[in-house]
Each structure stands twice: as C-alpha cells, then as structure tokens.
Assembly symmetry: C2
C-alpha cells in the first residue's frame, strides 16, 4: 500500500505549497467523455490508497485564469488540444461531504498540511469529448490509477461527482442537438448507424432511423469515403466529418432536432 | 455627498464582518433583463459616491449554497419569486482590474476593513427575466441608486461587467430558441408583433413575420384573449401565454428555430 517514494515526495510538496499558492475553497473538475461503441464512458481516477473513483480536477493558482487552470489540469490526464466547455459551477455548501470523502491522511500527509483541502470547495465544471481509441491516459498527480467508467455506472463515484456527471450529460445532450459537437468522439470513418448509436448513447433514448439518416445527410457535415471492408453481403457506406461544413454548421448553430 | 448615517453604519458593519463570514475570492452577480418595448434593458446600480454603474451582486456565506446566495442577494434588489439561471462563471485573474474599479474608501471604509474586497474575485453569473412594468426596484445595500440600462449602452459599466452582460445575452438568445423563457418578460396580454419585437430585441436581429406567426401559433403556447381597444381600423388580436402548454413545452424543450 505504500506510495512510491518519488510520488510521495511530490504529493507532500503539493500539499505543503498548496495552501499558499492556490485560491482557497475553489476547484475545477473536468468530465472527459469517450465513446466506446455502443457505450458512453467517462474518465475517472483513484487517489493513492483509496477505494472510490473521482472525477479528475485540481486547484487554481492565485494569479491564474480559471479556464487556464482547467486546461493545465487536463494535461495531467495526458489530454492535450481538447476543447473544454465550462458548463456549470457546483456550489452546494455540503457537496464534498455527501459520500466517499477523500482522506488526505491516506496519502501520507499530516493534518496541518492538508487542512486546506478538507474545507468546503465550490467547483467549476468543464467537459471535453475525446476519441476513445486515440488517447493515452495518465492518472494525474495524486493518483496512480485511472480508467473509463460507463456513464450508467456511477455508484462508485465520490462526493457529488455522480451528480456532476449527470449535469454534464444533460448539457452535452442539449449541445448535441444545437451544435455538431461530436467530432472528437468519432473515429476517422464511421457508418450512419454508428453515428446514430453515438447520439443515442448521449441522449439516452432511441432515434428514428429514417429521420436520423435524412437530417444528417441534409446537414452536409458528412462526406462519403468508401465502404466498410470485410463486411457482410451489403457493405455499409463509410463517412467522415466534412470539417469545413462542420465549422460552418457551428457558426450557424445548425439545429438537428431528431 | 455624505452617505446617510444609518446606511454608513450598515456599510461599515458589512465590511467589518465580511472578512469573517463570507467565502474569500468568490462572488455572485445577477443580470436582470427587463423588456421596455422595443428595448431590452438590464438592471444596474451605483455604489455610494461613485460614478460608474455595476451589475448587482454579492458574496456567499461560508455555509451557504451558492445558488441560495444568488437568491438572497436578488431580494436586496426588491426582486422575489424569480427564476435565476446560472449561466457562466467568470474567472479571469485580472477581471476586476479592467476598468472603473470600485473604491471602498469612497464608502467611508478604512483600508483594513476593505482589503478583502479589493482582492481577486471569481464571480458566478446568473440571469433573471422580469416584467419591466411590474417590479419595484431597490438599490441594494451598498448603493443608493439603481436604474434600467439599455442593453446596447454598456460603456459605463465597471470592470468586466459589460462582458458578463454580453455573455448573458448570448445564453439568453440560445435559451430563447430552445425553451419558451419569455413569460416573465411579457405583459399580461400582447400582440404577435409585440412578441416578435421581444424576440428580436433579445436576438438582436430581425425575424421573418410569416415564419414567426406560423411557429408561435403552432407551438400552442399562445391563447387569444380579445382585441386591442383604442386601436386603428383593424384592431390586432391580443394573446396571453397558455401556462399549461407553456410548462409542457418546457418539459419537451420545444424548439422554435425562427
């Protein structure tokens, strides 16, 4: 159960300096959505020596923009060049005491060094979308383990993090119907049924096949790139996103409205 | 220019206790939109003895939910039973130093009492919609003057408050096309052109008359209540919102898409 020496030293330094360098009572958390067809997943991590899963997140330097802190922390998960969407701030006074509260003493930190992290925190929530197959995750500074958790299996999340994920999914669902936000969730080429499956996984409901095909084709954001090889008798068409049309749709705020 | 004695005492007490009772570095601000046909306006206030206008706002007690703090402060503006929509958190490190920074010393407060308010603040932004004709505004605790400012005349706003208003208007525009959020902005009865004018004022663009009439009528949220009296040759129909259908549309997230 012992934390490795080097990690232990880093963790201790982090807490020792934290009280001086970070804004008190304020944190950021980010939800990273990945699509492992047909499942929507989120990135979670485990603190050293603790059982439950946490959303990744971090603190804000006293002179740092909150958005910059979000991107800086995202890099600790091994994620670069992603768009982070700030979607809500969580400010319930009792939110961190709800369940599975992290115990800094299990990180080998003495009480006087970790008092500042066990106080109340208001957290600014962000979400990002990634291509599940392309990212190489890292566990972050205070953690030695990270994984993808199914969006429908949030019971093991600490504190109010399951609520935060549900809120993020709600906003993503809204965004999905208002903007073509799916680019980062898709592989390089895909079939229409696979795209439909992605929408269904996020919206958590089924979509009429005909309507879906008609509306996506009409939107002009799809471009045929060939047929799927090694398929059955009738190999399905493969598509990719037309980036130019995609940006144009973003500007126009194309509404699909399935 | 002297602040009245009673106000002065209250203000001093507020700052004296503030450092102990409020979360440091965190505030809320609320944008109250009112529709004074054909102009969209926002509520602003002026601090005692200071020239520029500010969005109303306040601080969060150490044990208070952030949302509750927003509603508590809203009441100081004389506004009750309104829905507050949290729309974005503003976390730029230099945001309060941008322009027209409030000077607590002009409130008659000594430096040691106001040090905590001149530090960096991250602010959680909310917006609310009110019927311009029905509200009786109050200037708030640290202010003796409040007014409605035209949404297109934001030059006199302090700090980054003009940016905050522009962001709020953008989110309101999105919400407007996704949800029927206009109830609180409307008088008891109105004509279709007046309703269209409201949409145009928020969206800051013109809408096709035929499309607007067709879509709003089809949505079922309007109910005819008579004709406008004292009108010209052809008195226009008056409508009110059908509350039941309105709520149903909210649940279904009816998309108008003008």
């Amino acid at each position: 159960m012992a934390v490795q020496d080097q990690s232990s030293y880093k963790v201790k330094k982090y807490f020792e300096h934290g009280v001086d360098v970070f804004l008190p009572h304020l944190s950021i958390n980010y939800i990273v959505f990945g699509f492992d067809n047909p499942n929507l997943k989120i990135l979670v991590q485990r603190l050293f020596n603790q059982e439950f899963w946490l959303l990744p997140g971090g603190y804000i330097y006293k002179n740092e923009n909150v958005n910059d802190a979000a991107y800086r922390n995202l890099k600790l998960s091994g994620l670069h060049d992603l768009f982070l969407r700030q979607f809500k701030t969580f400010g319930e006074a009792t939110r961190v005491t709800k369940k599975s509260v992290p115990k800094p003493e299990l990180l080998g930190i003495s009480k006087e060094l970790h008092d500042w992290v066990t106080q109340r925190f208001v957290t600014v929530g962000y979400y990002a979308l990634v291509d599940f197959n392309k990212v190489k995750l890292q566990p972050g500074l205070l953690s030695n383990e990270c994984t993808w958790l199914d969006i429908n299996e949030l019971d093991d999340l600490a504190m109010d993090h399951a609520d935060i994920v549900r809120e993020a999914r709600g906003v993503l669902s809204e965004d999905l119907l208002n903007f073509p936000v799916v680019a980062n969730l898709l592989p390089d080429s895909f079939t229409i049924p696979e795209l439909k499956q992605l929408y269904e996984s996020i919206l958590d409901r089924s979509i009429d096949r005909g309507t879906f095909r008609k509306k996506t084709m009409k939107s002009g954001i799809l471009e045929k790139v060939g047929k799927r090889r090694n398929a059955a008798r009738r190999p399905p068409d493969l598509y990719k996103l037309n980036q130019e049309q995609y940006i144009r749709s973003l500007m126009k705020k194309t509404r699909f409205g399935f």
